[in-house]
């Protein structure tokens, strides 16, 4: 068969596509059928089974904030996944409490997904509730005023536009809150 592909363009084309489709289908179409947790929104009322809580879709304001997050390319510098690594759960953790790891059911409504590939800045998967509005205002105006040595770019136009600022902060506060894991709800000073 492969010999035939040597002289027949049609054969070569067919075999290349068949070989490609075996892996293509088994790794893209099949997994969501096998692993149903990918599509089932997180919900748990039983503390014995881990953190309780419920994933709800974002409201309009939060979605608008998410759109700004995409437009400004925040996702090129920030990931949104607490991986199954001890260090990740500690870094995403808060006031000495380790964060739960991210699971597929927390991202069911994410479109587009924002898991990210690069951590120039810290992971943001559990940043909701970590800082208050004032902190974000100062930080967006110039990150170095709060965190000397930061290389996050300033976003003065986000602070100046009251509606955009409200939206992006509203979105930030939703991150990682489907699972109720924070010891209490006040912000870090």
């Amino acid at each position: 068969m492969l010999r035939k592909a040597d002289t027949s363009a049609t054969w070569a084309a067919i075999i290349s596509l068949v070989l490609f489709f075996i892996g293509g289908i088994l790794t893209t179409v099949v997994p969501p059928l096998v692993d149903t947790t990918w599509a089932k929104p997180f919900e748990n009322a039983d503390p014995a089974k881990g953190p309780t809580g419920k994933l709800t879709p974002l409201n309009e304001l939060q979605l608008q904030g998410r759109q700004i997050y995409i437009r400004e390319g925040c996702w090129y510098c920030h990931t949104q996944q607490t991986r199954t690594l001890l260090a990740d759960t500690k870094r995403s953790g808060w006031k000495g409490v380790d964060s739960p790891v991210s699971t597929p059911d927390e991202f069911v409504y994410d479109d587009p997904h924002l898991f990210g590939t690069k951590r120039t800045g810290p992971d943001l998967s559990r940043v909701g509730g970590k800082y208050d509005e004032q902190w974000h205002r100062t930080h967006f105006r110039n990150p170095r005023d709060l965190v000397p040595g930061s290389i996050m770019p300033p976003y003065p136009w986000l602070v100046e536009d009251a509606a955009e600022f409200k939206a992006i902060v509203a979105y930030m506060q939703t991150l990682g809150r489907a699972k109720d894991w924070r010891p209490d709800n006040d912000y870090e000073e």
Partner: protein, 467 residues
């Protein structure tokens, strides 16, 4: 294989009078525009490298923000420069390997115009922040549709050329180009259209299938098509083994597509899918080593030619970078290594070695080889070409190595949660400074290369022997 390459020689090079004359207009248009984008996007590249050192540089203008320029850099280099250059070179080599003219120059020219319109649309939309939020698939939907149309026009033209070929046996470059056309179509549809019907982890899985295979099943096979053509041509030596090139091709066709989920190792995606991705990532060593062995064996006894054959220098350095990148890739997929290097600055070091060090080097070699032949002129300056090589080599190695070392160190620090995150940022400052200066050298490579190509095209140095 001797026989085939010498047939290719007749079709391509010093043809006897009365033989086939290639028009090559499509190849010329694609090549010139790709070189122009290489230069323009090269400036963007230097700016974003500078932003790591001076984060407030131009930061009051939304369109000049890091988050807008980075996708412009990535899309511009991948689609404006590299893919367009690859298309130019395949429009050049496929007719020669088939012993016929390109099926339709008119269709080819229309494709070139459409492609340029797409790239200009991409520049505007990315600067405006019209971003779909998916890596490598940032462009708005109308542009995605235009890309599909352009790809069909390109693929149809080359398939028609291949179907009318005069030599029944197909040289390995032809398979690779056919594979590229077909796989790219489906990979692109997955990454830009299928994703629209999914959300969350399911979407991420499709997105990584696309991202990974944009390199693995687009730039790899077309890059290898160039290497398989230009290494024997530039060194005037027949390819070592046809059989080995078959092993490489069929294993690539089967193995690559399984590996997308290795972008989510330790992340919120099924463990068994991660394990499959790891297993197949390690298997990638088979197609890579088959191709690399073939190239090295072809060069046996010919290495002295590297001294003053600039295209060959680029080609063989590209092969070495290809070998290294594709050794890194499978190693990153191992869970223990991934826990350190994933998400760090190591990754851009790896990605640049693949896209610049390996695949762009193949395309640059092809351009230096093709331009004098299709324009029928002598290269403007051999010594400038040599300088471009050394700028890229020194800048490139400086870039890759500092990012690996820096990225590894960064990952090591992240794994110790006692170190505050900001300390790991400050620690990388020297790395980003060296990266910036390496970037300047790489940009000098682009400058010398594009000037040389431009001066050849516009210049009046006729070729001493007939083309």
């Amino acid at each position: 294989m001797q026989e085939q390459i010498s047939r290719a020689e007749i079709a391509g090079g010093a043809a006897p009078s009365g033989a086939l004359v290639h028009e090559d207009t499509t190849a010329k248009w694609f090549l010139v525009s790709s070189v122009a984008y290489f230069f323009i996007v090269g400036i963007v590249a230097v700016v974003i490298a500078a932003k790591f050192v001076w984060p407030e540089l131009m930061s009051t203008i939304p369109a000049m923000g890091y988050g807008r320029l980075r996708p412009l850099h990535v899309n511009g280099m991948l689609f404006g420069w590299l893919l367009a250059a690859d298309m130019a070179l395949t429009y050049y080599l496929i007719p020669r390997l088939c012993g016929v003219r390109l099926w339709s120059e008119t269709l080819g020219k229309a494709t070139a115009i459409l492609w340029n319109a797409i790239i200009l649309g991409a520049v505007v939309s990315l600067l405006m922040g019209w971003n779909q939020g998916l890596e490598y698939a940032e462009l708005p939907l109308p542009l995605d549709v235009a890309v599909v149309v352009a790809w069909i026009m390109y693929g149809f033209n080359l398939f028609m050329t291949i179907s009318q070929r005069r030599y029944p046996a197909m040289y390995v470059s032809i398979w690779y180009v056919m594979g590229t056309i077909l796989w790219t179509a489906f990979v692109y549809l997955t990454g830009n259209f299928a994703v629209l019907f999914t959300t969350g982890v399911n979407q991420a899985n499709l997105n990584w299938m696309y991202v990974h295979n944009a390199v693995g099943l687009i730039f790899t096979p077309v890059g290898l098509a160039l290497a398989y053509y230009f290494i024997p041509k530039a060194s005037n030596t027949p390819l070592y083994s046809h059989k080995l090139s078959m092993i490489g091709f069929w294993s690539l066709a089967f193995v690559y597509v399984w590996t997308g989920a290795h972008h989510m190792l330790h992340g919120p995606i099924s463990q068994w899918l991660q394990t499959i991705a790891i297993a197949f990532s390690v298997m990638l060593l088979i197609p890579v080593w088959a191709a690399v062995y073939n190239f090295f064996a072809t060069m046996k006894g010919q290495w002295h030619q590297l001294r003053d054959n600039v295209p060959l220098k680029f080609l063989m350095s590209g092969v070495v970078f290809y070998l290294l990148t594709c050794f890194q890739g499978p190693m990153h997929s191992l869970r223990a290594v991934n826990a350190i290097v994933s998400k760090t600055d190591w990754i851009p070091g790896h990605a640049h070695m693949a896209v610049l060090g390996a695949f762009s080097f193949f395309a640059i070699a092809g351009a230096y080889y093709m331009v004098p032949r299709v324009w029928g002129k002598q290269l403007y300056s051999d010594s400038l070409a040599n300088w471009s090589y050394w700028m890229w080599m020194i800048g490139g190695i400086g870039f890759f190595v500092t990012l690996w070392l820096g990225g590894f160190w960064q990952g090591w620090q992240w794994n110790n949660p006692a170190i505050p995150f900001i300390d790991t940022v400050v620690a990388l400052e020297p790395v980003w400074l060296v990266r910036f200066f390496s970037g300047i050298l790489m940009f000098a490579g682009i400058l010398f290369f594009s000037y040389n190509i431009l001066a050849t095209v516009l210049g009046e140095k006729p070729k001493p022997t007939a083309a």
